[in-house]
């Protein structure tokens, strides 16, 4: 069970990303009640966010199935699962854009309070990570179509998979710490 330098590099990057998001989660928890008299956690729509969270969680399944298909040299099936993963990522991202619009209309404005800033920066940066993940998924789809990715090069799918699962795992934390726990504490 050797250590591959490319995977080591990816894990070092992901390790630093945990710290990156850890900083934003800390800021969010610190400013949870600093709403400056404006809108707070009561604006969250848990049923809606639960569905988008579920979609992102299931995208990890299609991602790992894409990697599995690639390890077996089945590029056709790999591309199918990659497209499914990217599609679910787009659904999640669309949900986030919709959610931000609703929050904005209900008075949760980025610059209005420390709470609003911390919330938008944390979830917004996560959204940017999802967007980058979708771009990587679509790139590997196109590269495999034009023959730039061969059936024996499944480490490439694995690396993108690691990034995608990381994005999912961060949302597991955000969904609980940012949405569910504060909402229950307020009720």
């Amino acid at each position: 069970m050797g250590v591959d330098h490319r995977k080591l590099g990816m894990w070092a990057f992901l390790g630093s990303e945990f710290l990156f998001f850890g900083g934003f989660v800390t800021a969010y928890l610190l400013y949870l009640e600093s709403t400056a008299g404006g809108v707070g956690v009561e604006v969250f729509d848990i049923p809606f966010t639960s569905i988008s969270s579920f979609v992102l969680l299931m995208s990890s399944l299609t991602m790992v199935l894409a990697h599995h298909a690639h390890t077996r040299g089945d590029l056709r099936r790999m591309r199918l699962w990659i497209l499914a993963t990217a599609g679910q990522g787009m659904v999640f991202l669309g949900g986030q854009v919709y959610e931000f619009n609703v929050f904005y209309r209900e008075g949760l404005v980025l610059t209005d309070s420390p709470f609003a800033s911390a919330f938008y920066v944390l979830t917004g940066f996560h959204g940017v990570h999802v967007f980058i993940g979708i771009l990587m998924l679509l790139s590997i789809f196109v590269f495999s179509l034009i023959g730039k990715i061969k059936p024996n090069q499944h480490l490439k799918t694995e690396m993108i998979g690691l990034y995608w699962h990381f994005v999912d795992i961060i949302w597991v934390v955000i969904f609980t710490v940012v949405y569910l726990i504060p909402e229950i504490a307020v009720l």
């Binding site: 250590v3 995977k7 800390t26 579920f54 480490l155 690691l162 699962h165 609980t176 726990i181």
Partner: protein, 110 residues
């Protein structure tokens, strides 16, 4: 562009013979879906004082499932796990540090 062409080379890092089957991955996804449903149920039903500890436990279990099975940390070199836990350790350390500083600051502010 053939999907069935012979490998040009064999990379030792790309040996995945001991990884789970798609059926196992689907089982893991079902477990994750059930755990998520349980999480969401805490919003609709009153779990009392156990709600928040339960949510934290569920979050950790889901985290470990995704990292262990989907990110293959269960099967790969422990070096990768150490890198992940190092990041988590510093993130948690940062949070504890900020909480301690905030508590001290509020205690000393007249």
């Amino acid at each position: 562009m053939s999907s069935t062409q012979a490998p040009e080379h064999t990379d030792p890092a790309e040996d995945h013979g001991n990884h789970p089957t798609p059926r196992k991955y689907v089982h893991i996804a079902i477990v994750l879906a059930v755990l998520t449903a349980l999480e969401v149920s805490t919003y609709f039903f009153d779990f009392g004082v156990i709600a928040i500890p339960l949510l934290i436990v569920l979050m950790i279990v889901k985290f470990l499932y995704v990292a262990g099975w989907f990110m293959h940390l269960k099967f790969d070199s422990r070096t990768y796990s150490r890198l992940m836990y190092t990041g988590l350790f510093f993130a948690l350390g940062l949070y504890i540090l900020v909480v301690v500083i905030t508590l001290f600051d509020s205690a000393w502010t007249p």
